[in-house]
C-alpha cells in the first residue's frame, strides 16, 4: 500500500513542525522516521493514521485522499500502533487481540473461529501465546507492548504505522520485533512506517528513512543516503559517528565533552 503526501504542513500550536512535505512511500518499503523529541514524528504518524487533520496539504493512500476512504475499508488496509496506551478495564490479552479483528466482521456479534485462529497466530508470533487469559492491566510494560503489536498483526493490513514499536521491549524482543517487521516487508510486500530512536536497529532493517528537524525541515531518502553521519548529526542535534562492523553500520553518539577529531 502506497502513501503520497503533497505539501503537507503540520503545526503544534504556533510551532511549525513539518512544512511542504512531498513524500512518497511505495509498496514493500520499510521507513524509519527519525528526529528529536517534539520534532513532529508522532504528529505525522497520527496524521497518516487519520486521527488528526493536517494544517495544510494532503495525504493519499493508494492514490485516494485519506478523507475519501470509508473508515471500515481503511481499517482493513492500515493498522496503527499508538505510542502509549491506558487500560481502564480488565480485558484479557485474547480479547484485546480479538478486538483488532473488528473491521472484518462489523456485522457479526461474535468472532468466528477464523478470528480466533488469526489472534492465536499473532500472539504466538509475538511470543505471548501463554498470556492469553491474563488481564492486560497485570502485564509488564514490555509484555503489554508485545500484546499491542500482536493486535496489530491480527488486524492483518498491508500498511503498518508504528509509533515506537520498540518501546519498553528488552534487547532480544527489540531485535525480534524489528526482524519480524523487516520480514513482513520483504516476504509479504507489506509497507511499514515506524518511529524509532535506535539508529543501528533502524538502519539494519529499514529501506528508507525520513528525518524531521522540528522546524519545518525534512529529508527523505533511501537509508544509505539519508542515514549519513553528518546529516543525522544535524537533524538530531548531536554529533554522531558511524563504524562498519561485520557488514553492519553501527551509530555511535559522541560524548558531549569528547573531541571528534582527537
Amino acid at each position: 500500500m502506497s502513501i503520497q503526501t503533497r505539501q503537507l504542513e503540520l503545526r503544534a500550536g504556533e510551532r511549525t513542525l513539518v512544512q511542504g512535505l512531498d513524500w512518497r512511500v511505495a509498496d514493500g518499503e520499510c521507513w524509519s522516521i527519525i528526529g528529536r523529541n517534539g520534532a513532529g514524528k508522532s504528529t505525522l504518524m497520527r496524521t497518516l493514521a487519520g486521527l488528526r487533520a493536517p494544517e495544510a496539504g494532503s495525504v493519499d493512500l493508494d492514490g485516494r485522499p485519506l478523507a475519501g476512504w470509508p473508515l471500515e475499508d481503511l481499517a482493513r488496509r492500515r493498522a496503527y500502533l499508538a505510542q502509549s496506551r491506558h487500560d481502564a478495564f480488565a480485558y484479557s490479552v485474547l480479547e484485546t487481540v480479538l478486538a483488532a479483528r473488528h473491521p472484518y466482521h462489523a456485522r457479526r456479534y461474535w468472532e468466528g473461529s477464523d478470528d480466533h485462529a488469526a489472534a492465536a497466530q499473532a500472539l504466538d508470533a509475538m511470543e505471548v501465546g501463554h498470556l492469553g487469559a491474563r488481564d492486560v492491566r497485570t502485564l509488564s510494560g514490555g509484555e503489554r507492548q508485545r500484546v499491542a503489536i500482536a493486535a496489530l498483526l491480527a488486524q492483518d493490513t498491508p500498511l503498518l504505522l508504528l509509533d515506537e514499536p520498540a518501546n519498553a521491549l528488552d534487547l532480544a524482543h527489540q531485535v525480534q520485533v524489528m526482524g519480524l517487521l523487516a520480514r513482513l516487508c520483504r516476504e509479504q510486500g507489506k509497507t511499514v512506517v515506524m518511529i524509532g530512536h535506535d539508529l543501528t536497529l533502524a538502519h539494519g532493517i529499514s529501506t528508507h528513512a525520513l528525518l524531521l528537524k522540528g522546524d519545518g525541515r525534512w529529508h527523505a531518502g533511501p537509508v544509505l543516503e539519508a542515514m549519513q553521519a553528518p546529516l543525522l548529526s544535524d537533524y538530531l542535534g548531536h554529533p554522531i559517528e558511524t563504524i562498519e562492523h561485520g557488514g553492519r553500520r553501527i551509530f555511535i553518539p559522541l560524548d558531549a565533552h569528547h573531541d571528534r577529531h582527537a
Binding site: G50, L74, A75, F89, Y91, A99, H102, Y109, L123, G132
Partner: protein, 340 residues
C-alpha cells in the same frame, strides 16, 4: 498452547439465561412478600387468574398490587445499570456512574422546585425531566469538542467529565438552597425524592420503551464499545466512528438516567455497583456485560425495594437508602478483592 476456551456464545447464553431466571424469581419474591405473604402453593393459581385478567382470590389481588411496583423497580434498576455501563465506556472510567455528569442533579432541581411550589405529581415528574434535559443540553454545548473523534487529546473526554462535575455541584447548591427555605411540611417529600423512592411511582409504559430502545442501541454498539474502551481515540483506526459513538452513548445514557430519575428520584449506587459487579463476575466484554447489567440491575432494585417496604413495616423506607447500605460494603469488598 492456549487453554481451550469455551465458545463465548455458549458462555454468554448460560449467563444471560441464569440472570433471566433470577429476574423472574426476584419479581415473584416481590409479589409474595409483604404484610400478608402469598404462599408458593397459591402462586400458580393466582398467576393464572392475573393472566386471565380476573384476579378473584386474595393472593391474585395482592400479586396485582405488588406487581406494578415491582415492575417499576425492575425497569428503573435496569435503566440505571445500563446507563452506568454506557457512561463508564464513554468516559473510559470504571468509577463513572449515571449521576456523575449532573443529569440527575438537574432533575432534582426541577423536581424539588415543583414540590416546593406544591405541584401535582405529574408536574413534579415533568419538572424533573425538564431539569435533566436542561443539564444535558448545557453539558453537550460545553463539551461538544470531546464528543468528536480524533481531535481530543489522548485520554480525552476530560472536559465532559469536569463540566459535568461542576454542573452537578451547581445543581446541588440550588437543591440545598431550596431545602433550607422549604417549609417543614414539604421537607419530607423533598428529601424522599432525593434519596429515591418507589412508593409513589406509577407503572408506565414509557420507561419500558426507553429501556428497550436503549438496549437495542447498546447491543448493536457492544463491539464498538469494546474497541472504544480499549483504544479511546485510536478506535478510529479500527473502523469505529468515534464521534458518532460518543454522542450516541452520551444521549442514550442521558435519556435512560432522565427516564429513571423522573419516575423514582435519584436512587444511588445501582448505576455504579451493578456494572462493577457484572464486570467482576463476567468480564468487561460489553456483549455480555450489557444484557447482564440490565437484568442484574433490575433484579437488584426489585429485591431492594421489597426490603425497603418490609424490613420495618408498616413504615416504608426510601429504596435509595437500602441500595446505598448494600452497595457501599459490596463495592468496598470488590475493590479489596481486586487489589489483592
Amino acid at each position: 498452547m492456549h487453554p481451550v476456551h469455551r465458545p463465548l456464545r455458549q458462555r454468554a447464553s448460560l449467563i444471560i439465561g441464569t440472570l433471566l431466571l433470577a429476574a423472574v424469581a426476584s419479581l415473584l419474591v416481590a409479589g409474595m412478600t409483604g404484610s400478608i405473604s402469598v404462599a408458593v402453593s397459591e402462586l400458580p393459581d393466582a398467576l393464572g387468574q392475573l393472566l386471565r385478567g380476573q384476579p378473584d382470590s386474595l393472593a391474585a389481588s395482592l400479586l396485582e398490587l405488588r406487581a406494578g411496583r415491582a415492575l417499576t423497580a425492575f425497569v428503573t434498576g435496569g435503566a440505571l445499570a445500563l446507563a452506568g455501563v454506557m457512561m463508564q465506556a464513554l468516559l473510559r472510567n470504571p468509577l463513572a456512574d449515571p449521576y456523575i455528569l449532573g443529569i440527575s442533579s438537574g432533575a432534582s432541581v426541577g423536581a424539588l422546585l415543583a414540590l416546593l411550589l406544591m405541584c401535582a405529581s405529574t408536574t413534579v415528574d415533568a419538572a424533573a425531566l425538564a431539569g435533566a434535559v436542561a443539564v444535558s443540553m448545557l453539558l453537550y454545548w460545553f463539551a461538544r469538542r470531546d464528543m468528536r473523534g480524533g481531535v481530543a487529546a489522548e485520554g480525552g473526554a476530560s472536559t465532559l467529565l469536569l463540566t459535568g462535575v461542576i454542573l452537578s455541584s451547581a445543581c446541588i447548591a440550588l437543591v440545598t438552597l431550596m431545602l433550607s427555605i422549604a417549609p417543614e411540611g414539604r421537607l419530607r417529600s423533598m428529601v424522599f425524592w432525593m434519596i429515591g423512592d418507589l412508593s409513589g411511582a406509577p407503572l408506565r409504559a414509557l420507561p419500558w420503551i426507553v429501556l428497550a430502545a436503549a438496549l437495542i442501541y447498546a447491543l448493536r454498539s457492544a463491539r464498538a464499545m469494546n474497541v472504544l474502551a480499549l483504544h479511546a481515540d485510536a478506535a478510529g483506526t479500527l473502523g469505529i466512528r468515534v464521534g458518532a459513538l460518543r454522542k450516541g452513548l452520551f444521549f442514550v445514557s442521558g435519556l435512560l438516567t432522565a427516564s429513571a430519575v423522573t419516575s423514582a428520584g435519584s436512587i444511588g449506587f445501582v448505576g455504579l455497583i451493578i456494572p462493577h459487579a457484572c464486570r467482576f463476575a463476567f468480564g468487561p466484554d460489553h456483549r455480555v456485560l450489557i444484557p447482564a447489567a440490565v437484568l442484574g440491575g433490575g433484579s437488584f432494585l426489585v429485591l431492594c425495594d421489597t426490603l425497603a417496604r418490609t424490613v420495618v413495616a408498616p413504615t416504608q423506607l426510601p429504596v435509595g437508602a437500602i441500595t446505598a447500605l448494600i452497595g457501599a460494603p459490596v463495592f468496598l469488598y470488590q475493590l479489596h478483592q481486586l487489589r489483592k
